[in-house]
């Protein structure tokens, strides 16, 4: 079985972004960019499934700018076998990304699509679900554990009050949550090896799918800042303040 892992290049999770002065968006120029952390977990899980003998090949794909090939190399240094860059300079919404991914799925015919549950830039948490719907495949979102047997995948899902387990007929889409695994670090020899692994580049426009946006960004603003409060000397003083000043207990 082949596993397709869609990945996204995002502002590194340790970097605090700034809103552009004209309110048109967020300043990302010159910021450190990384593989989206949830996608990194998805790459790791796909590699583990190959190492267990469940999968035979792990293909990573990203829809993005030319520079996004760095996260494809990172994924291959972790252990992915090959990569596809679907090049576009436009910022695509999840619906459009899902349309592009659907075209790649039809070309690659994977038995499983494993991807992060959300990208930490737009925080949409939607691409996996939209892709699954468009393919007519079942979905296992927010996965904390997976196991494959007899043409099905059992997915433990993080839900509000605990964990839910579903069994899905393959092919399926699984989206990775935090506890699915702890991604490995790429070793230096593997980073060198990844440079020689195949990376194919396609033009997004050549896929012949609808990449239009349905949302117009009217404005982007800074959230209201909280005022820094006061430091207190003791728990007793805190309780006093909470009772008499904040009147919250």
């Amino acid at each position: 079985m082949k596993i397709l892992v869609p990945v996204k290049r995002v502002v590194d999770y340790n970097v605090k972004v700034r809103v552009a002065a004209d309110g048109s968006g967020v300043e990302t120029q010159g910021l450190k960019m990384s593989l989206n952390p949830f996608d990194e977990i998805a790459v790791e899980e796909a590699i583990r499934l190959r190492e267990k003998g469940v999968a035979t090949e792990v293909v990573v794909v990203t829809i993005g700018v030319q520079a996004a090939q760095d996260i494809l190399r990172t994924s291959m240094a972790m252990g992915a076998d090959r990569a596809i860059l679907v090049k576009t300079d436009d910022t695509l919404e999840p619906r459009a990304v899902a349309n592009a991914l659907k075209a790649i799925v039809e070309r690659e015919q994977p038995g499983l699509v494993c991807m992060g549950k959300q990208a930490i830039d737009d925080d949409m948490n939607a691409t996996g679900q939209i892709l699954a719907a468009k393919l007519g495949w079942p979905q296992g979102t927010f996965a904390s554990a997976v196991s494959v047997a007899d043409g099905r995948i059992e997915v433990s899902r993080e839900i509000d009050g605990g964990t839910e387990v579903v069994s899905l007929a393959l092919p399926a889409v699984v989206t990775a949550d935090l506890r699915l695994n702890e991604p490995r670090y790429a070793s230096l020899p593997n980073i060198m090896k990844a440079r020689k692994k195949p990376l194919e580049t396609l033009e997004a426009a050549d896929l012949g799918v609808d990449l239009a946006s349905r949302l117009t960004v009217v404005s982007v603003a800074e959230p209201a800042e909280r005022k820094e409060g006061i430091k207190l000397g003791s728990a007793a003083e805190l309780v006093e303040k909470l009772k008499t000043e904040a009147k919250v207990i």
């Binding site: 809103v19 619906r95 949409m124 939209i130 892709l131 009050g161 007929a169 117009t216 820094e228 805190l238």
Partner: protein, 301 residues
């Protein structure tokens, strides 16, 4: 215009976050509600609902049949709304995929019928977006809309048949047993971070939570380190809370965590590091060792 709101019922009651979603949905005009599984009568008792569509044959979290059913009735609605819960985030984007709509997740403010505000970059920016889709599909943050009352309505209930799900099968659910209020609904939340040092120390939060009738939360790094289960996670990738009082214990205040709690009315921070970012959003801070401060706090309450 008529909106359809997806309501989640738990233990015979409509979840608070769903009642907030109802409040949001009423902004668009008439409201129909849909309930998967049992619980239509609890939904019918909420005020402001024209009719309740009941699908007793469907477990809420199986997205495939739920989205199929919603897609089959979607054309009657201008907006389809759910709370930004695990269930809402599972089902509604799939529905959007079926209808070829771009969903709008985590709405915190409704400007008008097609314009919405939602946080991006872990809440470090607020984007106002306008949707050109004929049907708007949105999930809303419970913390941003007042929950509708639990009673005062008497909507008629219509029962719908559940579509068959062949590709996905529900196996089991394991819910954490807890007598405490739900994180998103609690008036007081006390959360532990990596400073708690291990899972056993999380017990130190319990007597305080008991006294304040508080829910217990955790930071992502505490969850990552195995100190607490994921369903306790507060933050960008966990639950979003805005209680009256939020007490952050041994928790540095990474941007991912602040994303989940900075709209709380009063924030208290207890941390040994006076430079910890959590103090920048806290109304009251105690710089000190949590293992000394917590017992003292319990005594003072």
């Amino acid at each position: 215009m008529t909106a359809l709101v997806l309501l989640e019922v738990e233990n015979g009651e409509v979840r608070q976050a769903s009642r907030s979603a109802l409040t949001a949905a009423t902004r668009f005009g008439d409201v129909d509600a849909i309930v998967f599984g049992e619980g239509a009568s609890a939904a019918a008792a909420l005020p402001g609902i024209k009719r309740v569509l009941s699908v007793p044959g469907l477990a809420t979290d199986l997205a495939e049949p739920a989205a199929d059913l919603l897609a089959s009735i979607a054309k009657d609605y201008s907006h389809i709304v759910a709370s930004a819960s695990a269930s809402g985030k599972n089902i509604l984007p799939r529905l959007a995929g079926l209808l070829d709509v771009q969903p709008i997740p985590d709405v915190v403010e409704i400007k008008d019928a097609e314009t919405f505000v939602r946080p991006i970059y872990a809440g470090n920016a607020l984007a106002t977006v306008r949707s050109s889709d004929a049907i708007k599909i949105l999930t809303v943050r419970g913390s941003s809309f007042d929950p509708a009352p639990k009673d005062g309505g008497s909507a008629p209930v219509e029962t719908l048949d559940a579509p068959v799900s062949e590709k996905s099968v529900f196996v089991k659910v394991e819910l954490s047993a807890s007598d405490r209020p739900e994180l998103e609904a609690a008036r007081v939340v006390i959360s532990g971070g990596k400073g708690m040092k291990d899972a056993a120390n999380f017990k130190l939060l319990e007597p305080i939570a008991d006294k304040l009738n508080a829910a217990i939360g955790a930071s992502r790094s505490a969850v990552d380190s195995g100190f607490a289960p994921n369903e306790m996670q507060v933050g960008q990738t966990g639950k979003i809370v805005a209680p009256e009082l939020y007490i952050a214990v041994g928790l540095s205040g990474a941007i991912q965590h602040l994303a989940g709690m900075k709209d709380s009315r009063v924030i208290v921070a207890i941390n040994t590091d006076p430079e910890a970012p959590i103090f920048r959003v806290a109304d009251y801070g105690i710089v000190g060792d949590l293992f000394e401060v917590l017992p003292a706090l319990e005594k003072a309450l």
